[in-house]
């Protein structure tokens, strides 16, 4: 299909206000008369609260309210397990757990009030290790949960035992990933305003304004989700971390109690120790193979670190367990997962939703297998990739797929064959691939209204010919709403400069689940496309009347309604609206395809799937273990590219964020205390660390996506860790990184182990 707008490179639609510093982020929002909210957080990983005395803090001049278990009802909430409360009840379960909160006239008073709260703790033994946590006599994080097991499953699919019995070769590996933060530059914050009558307005840097009402604010405050009007402020980065935001609850509770507006801004340190970072996992893999490199079956055992509360971790573990089986034709699999409570910060979702961890482990394992079988790692993958039309072992229906093209591109672009022939002398290349959902029906059930994973859009054209798009989905800075504007511009024939997409607001916008699971371009994009088509029809119908030409003989070009046969017969879109006497609107709603998985986790969770292959070239200092990433090369299949500039930005940003995760990040818990509490101990890639990146798109033209588009956010990050580790393996002649991050010290240990 030939397109005018779609597929071209465009700036994001709010770029001008952003480069001029005019964007209002949550901490810039003026709320007249607002109090300052702050939380008192547990200094202990695990402690019983024997006594909590807030009276001195309450008496301090300027303090409006102090909240704690003493004056709030016990209203547990949680997405999978109702294991969390607004404030610690009998115990504090991690360093950073909210024990109390204050709202005061200013920050200084609020800080002083916190210092006046007296808490008598009985320090309890820390559950820091997920394996020790399962021992019979281990202390319990939640007294009612025996063995500290939050979730557990065991699935067998296909003739797994036979597959291993009949295999020519079988291999086993273990991998461990670390606790890493989303590390957006904007610390999280929310503000709330209680209104007489009991309704509450909430503002915040949120990924989903609709869902936070249903999974957190409503249940935790004993109110109906409709009692909250939640408005998004543009997030200064999110990457999964701003979905489950307790700051919203703190602000809302303080505001209700004080009957005044409250700003609750977290410091960077609070953000690093008390949000929901990427889940650490321990993955054991076994795989069975035919001699020619055909995959026969695999066994996976996962121990996942839940931390103190569950958040979305059960779903993340499930994602880790099943994901890579769908990238390759896998005849049989056995999967066991255990999600274990510890006294560490609750883990959660970050870009990739477990797939970063799963792909790191499996794709590292694949290179070990290729090495053992004497096969080229790229060839091994090409032999086993899934293809369009396949239904995977777990029931995933592959509607479009260009992963093999992406891999061939990486192989060619990196001069793979020549470079693979060298290797072992401190320089090497590696690659890895991934599959990812574009939306996931599971979320719709766990977080949303029902099993439809819906999105809806409203497109409104005003009398000046300007167009506003209302969508309940959210822009996190990645340009998601720009994609909507470009789609609608394409449909409506109105220049994109005239489009505006305001931040999400439950007060007037139609429902949307929000930004996660790479769902917006596909699901939100389809809804907006339908709305734009509806608006276009309504514009043409109105114009037909005024111009006395049948609607099907009209078109919209450059914001003007023109007679196809007589282009000089025209009317501007604004004029049509003025003559019509009111805003002309279009509505659209789109329900995602796929199924909710059954109890055995069988089914097709997403409408369609995206793919990518990442390659890396590294130089390894064999004496210090210091790794230099010389270059990254990526091929992506996001279906049709809508905004080329935005898509490139996703790919480059994802690759460097993934490289950063692999090489240098880590909250580094030590006996329950995190050590990465600022941006000089929690390292993320600087401009000096950014390697050259080459990349291209392999547009598989998805049958369900708007103009053939699928999700891109997460395939952009998933494989890079394994690609780098595989390059290190190649460069060093066999140093396999089994524990992340790839510190120089770990590399050196792996080099020494490989020499043995």
């Amino acid at each position: 299909m030939s397109t005018r707008v779609v597929g071209q490179p465009h700036p994001i639609i709010d770029a001008v206000e952003k480069v001029s510093g005019a964007t209002i982020f949550i901490n810039d929002l003026e709320l007249p008369g607002a109090l300052t909210g702050l939380a008192l957080r547990s200094p202990h990983p695990h402690a019983r609260i024997l006594n909590l005395d807030t009276s001195a803090a309450e008496r301090l001049a300027g303090v409006a309210v102090v909240l704690s278990k003493n004056n709030t009802p016990n209203a547990p909430f949680g997405i999978n397990h109702k294991d969390e409360a607004a404030f610690c009840r009998e115990k504090a379960r991690y360093v950073g757990d909210e024990v109390a909160a204050v709202a005061a006239a200013d920050e200084e008073t609020a800080r002083e009030a916190l210092s006046l709260i007296r808490v008598d703790y009985e320090v309890l033994p820390t559950v820091a290790d997920p394996f020790a946590a399962q021992e019979p006599n281990a202390p319990l994080v939640h007294d009612s949960v025996t063995g500290n097991i939050a979730n557990e499953f065991h699935i067998k699919r296909g003739e797994i035992d036979e597959a291993f019995d009949a295999a020519d070769a079988a291999f086993a590996d273990e991998f461990h990933t670390h606790l890493a933060h989303q590390a957006y530059i904007e610390p999280t914050g929310c503000a709330a305003q209680w209104h007489p009558g009991g309704k509450i307005s909430v503002w915040g840097c949120l990924q989903s304004v609709f869902l936070i009402r249903t999974f957190m604010l409503g249940p935790a405050m004993g109110m109906s989700p409709d009692d909250f009007r939640v408005t998004q402020t543009k997030p200064g980065g999110a990457f999964g971390g701003k979905l489950d935001v307790k700051a919203a609850l703190m602000a809302a509770m303080l505001s209700r109690a004080a009957e005044k507006p409250v700003r609750f801004m977290m410091s960077l340190e609070e953000d690093l120790i008390a949000m929901r970072p990427r889940m650490p996992v321990h993955i054991s893999l076994e795989s069975a193979w035919k001699r020619d490199g055909t995959l026969a079956g695999k066994r996976v055992r996962i121990v996942a670190e839940n931390g103190a509360y569950s958040s979305l971790s059960p779903a993340i573990m499930s994602s880790i367990a099943l994901r890579t089986d769908n990238l390759y034709k896998t005849p049989a699999a056995e999967i066991q997962g255990k999600l274990v409570y510890t006294n560490i910060i609750p883990s959660g979702q970050m870009r990739g939703f477990g797939n970063v961890q799963a792909t790191y482990a499996w794709e590292s394992h694949l290179d070990n297998v290729a090495d053992s079988l004497g096969l080229d790692p790229a060839e091994l993958r090409l032999k086993n990739y899934t293809e369009k039309g396949d239904v995977s072992l777990h029931g995933w229906k592959i509607a479009s797929c260009a992963v093999a093209d992406a891999t061939r591109y990486v192989v060619e672009e990196m001069d793979w064959k020549a470079k693979r022939a060298r290797g072992g002398k401190g320089r090497g290349v590696g690659l890895a691939s991934c599959i990812h959902v574009s939306g996931n029906k599971g979320f719709s059930v766990e977080l949303g209204p029902d099993d439809t994973d819906p999105s809806s859009g409203v497109v409104r054209v005003d009398e000046e010919g300007k167009v506003e798009i209302w969508s309940g989905e959210s822009d996190l800075g990645q340009g998601a709403t720009s994609v909507m504007a470009y789609i609608a511009s394409e449909v409506m024939g109105i220049p994109v400069e005239r489009f505006r997409v305001p931040p999400t607001d439950t007060g007037y916008m139609p429902f949307g689940m929000g930004a996660f699971a790479s769902r917006i371009t596909l699901i939100g994009g389809n809804a907006v496309k339908l709305a734009a088509e509806d608006a276009r029809r309504n514009l043409l119908d109105a114009a037909a009347e005024f111009m006395e030409i049948p609607a099907d003989e009209l078109e919209i070009v450059e914001g003007e309604v023109r007679a196809k046969a007589l282009p000089e017969r025209k009317m501007s879109v604004g004029e049509v609206v003025r003559r019509a006497g009111s805003v002309i609107e279009g509505n659209g709603k789109w329900l995602a395809g796929g199924d909710v998985l059954d109890k055995e986790k069988y089914g097709n969770p997403s409408t369609t799937y995206s793919f990518s292959t990442h390659g890396a070239e590294v130089e390894v200092d064999m004496e210090t273990g210091v790794v230099t990433i010389l270059g990254i090369c990526c091929g992506h299949d996001p279906g049709r590219v809508i905004n080329r500039l935005g898509a490139e930005g996703q790919v480059e940003g994802g690759a460097v964020q993934g490289m950063s995760f692999a090489m240098m990040e880590g909250l580094a818990p030590l006996e329950g205390h995190l050590r990465g509490k600022n941006f000089h101990d929690y390292l993320i890639a600087t401009s000096m660390d950014a390697p050259p990146i080459e990349h291209d798109f392999f547009e598989s033209m998805d049958p369900y996506g708007p103009y053939g588009a699928k999700g891109l956010a997460e395939v952009a990050i998933n494989p890079i860790t394994a690609a780098i580790c595989n390059a290190i393996y190649h460069a060093t002649g066999g140093a396999r990184i089994r524990t992340l991050p790839v510190s120089p010290e770990r590399v050196l240990e792996a080099i020494e182990e490989a020499r043995k």
């Binding site: 401190g426 064999m622 004496e623 090489m663 101990d681 401009s687 050196l748």
Partner: protein, 284 residues
Amino acid sequence: MEFLRAASVDEALAAARDGAAFVAGGTNLVPDVLFGRKKIARAVDISRLDELRFIEEADGKIRIGALASVTDLLESELIRTAASPLYESALEFAGPLVRNRASVAGNLMDASPAADLAPPLLVQDAVVELASAEGERALPLSEFFLDYRKTAVRPEELMKAIVIEPLGQEGRCAYYKLQLRRAMAIAVVGVAVVLRMKGSVCAEAAISLGAVAAVPYRAQAAEACLCGKEIGVAEIEAAAEAAEDSARPIDDVRASAAYRKKMCGVLVRRLLKKALGMPQPVAV
């Protein structure tokens, strides 16, 4: 906290009492105060004392004003040519925004074991000039650091300058900062070496190590393996081993003590070879 801007060195010295602290670039002190790591009753702002901001050659030595910024080091031809380890350390120091404010004196006064400028200054025999209301004194940098974040500078003393020996014709040198990212990183290990050669004999050897003990220090036992000798592989091995033995590092979020110790040997061996132009097994 009381704030006072000193208009002159004398005014600064007069104000240096009753829990006062000097603040220059502020890159360490300001966040320390903000986050409550340091409590000070009075900040005496010396950042505008331009008489303490210079880099000059005097009496065959290089004199660096206490308030010379790290950016000033990078912009000085004198530092680049006659104190190249210091220049290289400045290049690896934080990022431009911090370098524009951070002063040489501040990096030393902070007394972090990982202070980036300390190893290169140590190998050029730095002496710091201190002033107080009672008078002035000179203190070798090798005696400056007493213990973890503790210096021999008295509370009422103000650092005025740092004097170093230029490399000269005979000076052979090398510097390396082992770090976990390419900028804005605290050193895992910092190493600087200077060898002053008389023909094929090493007349003086200076090796300093940072981030591997409570203070940055000169590895004298390692230096002794080289002094007065024709340096070959055996001498270098001995020096590397002595450097490794001398390290007393700790485990922290960046690396283990064992790794740091081992790297002292690896890096000293490598930097000595680099300084002498000997072939390396692996490029630094």
